[in-house]
């Protein structure tokens, strides 16, 4: 019995970390149609911000929940002003530019901090179910995923900013004639997407190996999930994260981690073949 609970926790862990990793990308890619190949590096910057401030004496929770999103949000703002704003509507160019950007960020971080970085220990500790051990941090990650989902949903549905942002993404010309400045909306949306990605990096910092190249391990899965989710940023990303996260963890538990990975990619191929518009293109049409 206990083992099923533990596996359920693993699945929950897989889903919530995947969702957190993808949410920022869903906003940047799903809403703005910018293919941000530097997404993994935003995660890495969030992790570095957390680790460096925590090792400098900042409380670990503040480092994760405040420093990381603020820092990466600011970086996102600068990048939007200097680079991304010239690339709206130019899908292929944005790919090339953000790929270059990702190499640049890796290079800068390596130059400053070298190839290795001391991590931070995981806060909270473990608990036991029967004879099995699991970590409170897993539950915390799941809680954070729920909180982020609620926050994004609340902001998008009930605030003026959310309404304007959605309107601008749907039809910038129409929004502009109604007195909205689309450039400003794009700028803040990109910064918010970056900040959420930074938060994900900060949250994962205590449970990952931290190197300048760490983003590479996340970027492919994040894109797969966002594309698999389709146009609806919340319901789409959540459903795709649930599907892929569960397939990966259950697959890894019952077979081997290698097949766990293989199964995820197979699932993604089948999904895109059956639902070319992503999950939300079929099931949550018109949802957020």
């Amino acid at each position: 019995m206990a083992i099923y609970l533990i596996v359920a926790l693993d699945v929950l862990n897989g889903i919530s970390s995947l969702f957190l990793l993808c949410l920022g990308l869903a906003i940047i890619f799903g809403m703005m149609k910018i293919i941000n190949l530097a997404h993994g590096e935003f995660i890495m910057l969030g992790a570095y911000a957390t680790v460096i401030s925590a090792n400098a004496g900042v409380n670990i929770w503040i480092a994760m929940l405040v420093v990381a999103p603020l820092f990466v949000g600011l970086v996102g703002l600068v990048i939007e002003r200097c680079l991304i704003r010239f690339l709206y509507g130019r899908l292929v160019d944005s790919m090339l530019a953000t790929w270059g950007l990702s190499l640049l960020i890796i290079g800068i971080v390596t130059t400053i901090y070298g190839n290795t970085q001391q991590g931070v220990p995981t806060p909270l500790g473990g608990f036991s179910i029967g004879s099995y051990q699991s970590s409170y941090y897993t539950l915390f990650l799941a809680g954070m995923a729920v909180v982020m989902m609620a926050v994004v949903y609340g902001v998008m549905s009930y605030t003026r900013f959310g309404l304007i942002a959605r309107a601008t993404m749907q039809n910038p010309a129409m929004a502009a004639t109604l007195g909205v400045n689309p450039a400003r909306v794009y700028m803040s949306t990109f910064a918010v997407g970056a900040a959420i990605t930074g938060l994900a990096g900060g949250l994962l910092a205590p449970v990952s190996g931290i190197t300048p190249g760490m983003g590479g391990a996340y970027v492919a899965k994040a894109f797969m999930t966002v594309v698999g989710g389709g146009a609806a940023i919340l319901s789409g990303t959540m459903s795709a994260a649930s599907l892929f996260g569960a397939v990966n963890q259950v697959g890894a538990f019952f077979t081997t981690p290698v097949y766990g990975e293989v199964l995820v990619f197979t699932a993604a191929i089948v999904l895109i073949r059956l639902l070319p518009q992503g999950i939300s293109g079929r099931f949550f049409k018109g949802n957020l």
Partner: protein
């Protein structure tokens, strides 16, 4: 001045001839003046493997500087031509060609991953350039042109597994990286567990970009082993030790590893996450012999921010010194003469102790050490002297088959 067609042709001809001849004239002049022996170096100083490659370059430079300070070899100074291979196999192939064809080096030290070694080894065979591979690896390379100075599983895993089993118990769970090093090392681990009367409950492989080890940790708990044997590799995989500790498993099941701490894991992880992990290598920075202390001191003095000085750096230093001893003995830089000299019982007392080249395998007989992580440093528990490369010796005999150039997969 009129500019006739004839004059134009004349001038062009002169200019062209000068241009074409210039490199030959300048080059022979330059070589004539100094005539150094050229040592090629192929190491990753950027990309994911940089933390391994950087101290190796420092060690190579240190060895060359010391040889030069002692008057060089055969009265000629040594010159290093180094290329940063950027953790990229394509760069290895490209720079290997360049070292062999353009730079015409007399020896090459380098290669870190087994994949990089197999990318450059055929090139050096083809262009007849002597090659030293100074890294611990899975064993089995059998090539008269190549010398492998690092440890192989029979030298380290053979010591690690029984000591860990004595401490922990007979049932082991193996976790390893999913490429040739991890796969082959897992086989060796299985063999030594069985040889020592134990049992392997399961073996799991992980692609290098796996970051979430939650299910593995659950599976390990379900299998209830006495001991975990790890050959996980790279930054992403250090997440395992973190997640293991955060699940509260630290201290419940001991871990022994063939890769942990080779680069920088003890310093990047928290003390609580890494304490009491066992490892076995051909060298540890913490060895207290005078040779080891002065080696580490020299590297840290020249490069205060050097990453951990591991077996990789020590073997590189010893590799260059062994080669130098071979050149001295051969009294020539001719490749075949140097190989013959190196095969003739060349030994060097390096930071890890006495290292002897083994004629039939072109590997080394060297000391091995068992250590445990304590407070983010290795604490050396035991040392084993003059351990032979028995694994490679079981498949490779270059005395009988001098034309062999294969890497054997050792069947277990």
């Amino acid at each position: 001045m009129t500019f006739s067609r004839r004059r134009f042709l004349q001038r062009s001809a002169i200019a062209t001839t000068t241009l074409i001849a210039a490199p030959a004239v300048f080059r022979s002049g330059a070589f004539g003046a100094e005539n150094p022996i050229v040592v090629g170096s192929l190491h990753d100083q950027s990309g994911p493997i940089a933390a391994s490659g950087t101290p190796m370059v420092y060690a190579l430079q240190l060895a060359v500087d010391e040889i030069n300070a002692g008057g060089g070899l055969l009265g000629r100074p040594l010159k290093v031509i180094h290329y940063d291979t950027q953790s990229n196999i394509q760069m290895y192939s490209q720079f290997a060609q360049q070292l062999a064809v353009k730079d015409k080096v007399d020896v090459v030290h380098g290669g870190i991953t087994s994949a990089s070694r197999e990318a450059v080894r055929p090139t050096f065979d083809r262009f007849k350039v002597l090659y030293f591979y100074n890294v611990l690896y899975e064993g089995g390379v059998c090539d008269r042109n190549t010398f492998c100075t690092g440890t192989t599983p029979a030298q380290t895993v053979e010591k690690l597994v029984p000591s860990a089993m004595k401490k922990a118990g007979k049932k082991a769970y193996i976790i390893a990286a999913d490429y040739n090093y991890g796969q082959i090392t897992a086989k060796w681990m299985t063999k030594y567990v069985k040889d020592n009367g134990g049992e392997v409950l399961a073996t799991d492989f992980f692609p290098l970009d796996v970051t979430n080890f939650g299910t593995t940790i659950s599976k390990i708990q379900a299998a209830k082993p006495d001991l975990i044997l790890s050959a996980l590799v790279g930054g992403n995989h250090t997440a395992f030790y973190r997640q293991w500790t955060s699940a509260g498993m630290k201290g419940k099941i001991p871990i022994a590893s063939t890769t942990f701490g080779l680069v920088n894991e003890p310093t990047t992880l928290d003390a609580a996450e890494s304490d009491s992990i066992l490892g076995a290598y051909g060298y540890f920075e913490e060895l207290t012999t005078p040779a080891s202390k002065s080696f580490v001191e020299k590297i840290k003095k020249a490069h205060p921010d050097s990453p951990y000085v591991s077996e990789l750096a020590a073997c590189t230093y010893e590799g260059v010194m062994l080669w130098a001893a071979g050149v001295k003995k051969a009294a020539s830089i001719d490749r075949m003469k140097v190989i013959a000299a190196l095969e003739d019982g060349i030994a060097f007392d390096g930071p890890s102790g006495k290292v002897t080249l083994d004629k039939p395998t072109h590997h080394t007989t060297r000391n091995a050490f068992l250590a445990e992580v304590k407070d983010r440093k290795w604490s050396v528990l035991e040392s084993y002297s003059d351990v032979k490369p028995a694994d490679t010796a079981s498949v490779c005999d270059l005395v009988k088959n001098p034309n062999d150039t294969k890497q054997y997969i050792i069947n277990l």
